[in-house]
């Protein structure tokens, strides 16, 4: 299990960030999306190889209207 945007989310052992994002419907080329894992930015170029550890805290963020 990981914590994905504040909610528990089941992942396969060794599942990559890119795979989880794809399950969310986020393509590797999605514009305006950024990811932090355990409080660190994971650059887009690393999504494909980034294996998620148990209990990883993942934040997937995008543009929202704001002043």
């Amino acid at each position: 299990m990981i914590l994905l945007n504040g909610e528990s989310f089941a992942v396969q052992p060794g599942e990559t960030l890119a795979a989880v994002l794809e399950r969310l419907g986020v393509s590797p080329h999605a514009r305006g999306v950024a990811v932090a894992v355990d409080g660190e930015v994971v650059p887009r170029a690393c999504w494909e190889l980034f294996a998620l550890a148990e209990d990883a805290r993942v934040e997937v963020l995008t543009a929202m209207q704001g002043g």
Partner: protein, 281 residues
Amino acid sequence: MMQAMSETTGTPSTLAGNGAAPAEDQITIAGRSMRSRLLLGTGGFPSLELLSAAITAAGSELVTVALRRIDPGARGSLVDVCSQAGVELLPNTAGCYTARDAVLTAKLAREAFETNWVKLEVIGDEDTLLPDAPELLRAAEELVDEGFVVLPYTSDDPVLARRLQDVGCAAVMPLGSPIGSGMGIRNPYNIALIREAVEVPVVLDAGVGTASDAALAMELGCDAVMAASAIARAQDPVRMARAMRAAVQAGRLARGAGRIPRRLYATASTPDEGLPDFGPS
């Protein structure tokens, strides 16, 4: 005389033109020149269609966006709307209460939007949303060191504004009054002092409620005005966007024109010479 009247009342385009200021009056922040001196916040618009129309009406070239958890059901086309409008994105760090969170949010925004510009907000209090000065300065310094173009949302404190400039901020964005309060500029003297205290552009941020607030900011010497709620939450946002645009231009012109000094007593605008003498009454 009638002719002159119609010329001075004129059409709105007499004042607004096509929104284009003369090239020499562009505002330049960190090497980027813009004709528009009105920055637009995207928050609070009831729909993206209305936002898009307001961007056009405001003539803004730089708009703020926030970064929030993705909603797979409603993946926004906010970025698309902004890119179709031809405006640059200025990501903010709204909602951050610590330098650490603001720095991380700025880095995520850089990753998401491919811009190293950030409107830095570090909030100290959820009721007033006033800036947390020590955290703000710390975050600004760190982000400048990381190569960001930092535009900090700051108090109307000239000393803090200078400190922010000294650590390398590209502009300062002092508040007129609390975010979304519509209270206008509560301390115009401080805004004028900030204009004197720093050389970087001063962008009045927060508190603008209506067009006259924006005009006053420009008359006080601000280089630009940022408006969000005042436009987005107006009953007719597009019309208010147009009003803000005209107000910023009017205030800028008035600042350049040099206003008359305030005096306690009247000064006749009509000369006494040639005054007729009608005899005793």
